[in-house]
Symmetry: C2
Subunit: 129 residues, 2 copies
DNA sequence: TTACTTGCAAAGATTTTGCATCTGT
DNA sequence: ACAGATGCAAAATCTTTGCAAGTAA
């Protein structure tokens, strides 16, 4: 049995960092930021807390193809753009394609509960170079 | 400078396995199959060859959220279904959503060259249990 | 006090790489 | 013979875990 979670300054701060960060940071990136203000934090514990936050449904864990887990605050379903040059991941401001889910449910016998869309290409920053 | 690639029975066989396998196998899965007929193959070399095949554009490397790279023969753009229970990945028979790319190009200043869509849920097999 | 949290280090898991040997051309 | 391909083992990366000490309630 697990008791209700205790409040932890570290975990709350991790949640804040992920919420405010628009780059969908990796555990390492969160650790680098956190370490500046809490020099004794351990990377292992950042992983642990990010997993807990994901279990609690406060953040989401995603993977955009480079084999490294990234985290995203929950702000409703949205899509992503992945730059193939600098590997950055940003939100993509396209409206929810709800018709796609409907279409998918019609043509498949699997139970479909969600979907995700990614766009790939070269981001503005990389184009300038 | 790199010379033209030599033919390698192992690499060709790996390509064949990935082409015929509908489960989008991981390197380990390909290795397990290959080892039965070529007992001396090394996992490291399977990784090496899959990377080469991907560089040559003969297969594609994908990641469906569990942190393990999976490989897919190139058979044109198509979408995928990921079972959240058994983690299997199967092709999803939905027609290409070309209007999505057009829409995406209109609303973003990034250069968009591709997209991918995944559906999530519970597959038929898992539902039977 | 009790049980969750943390830091640290060790262990796991996946993937890459160095090197000597083998092999296709 | 030459340069790519292979097997092996070691290393590199990313992530998880055990444990003793710390801390919120």
């Amino acid at each position: 049995m697990s008791n209700p979670r205790r409040k932890s300054r570290q975990r709350e701060r991790i949640f804040e960092i992920i919420s405010k960060d628009k780059t969908h940071p990796t555990a390492q990136a969160v650790y680098d930021i956190l370490r500046k203000e809490m020099p004794t934090v351990s990377l292992g514990n950042v992983y642990r807390n990010m997993k807990i936050l994901a279990e609690e449904g406060r953040i989401e864990c995603r993977n955009f193809g480079d084999g490294i887990e990234r985290y995203d605050a929950i702000v409703g379903l949205h899509y992503h753009f992945v730059c193939e040059q600098c590997k950055s991941v940003t939100d993509f401001p396209m409206a929810l394609q709800s018709d796609i889910i409907g279409m998918a449910k019609k043509i498949s016998s699997h139970t479909i509960t969600g979907h995700s869309i990614q766009f790939y290409g070269i981001c503005d920053k990389c184009k300038q170079k």
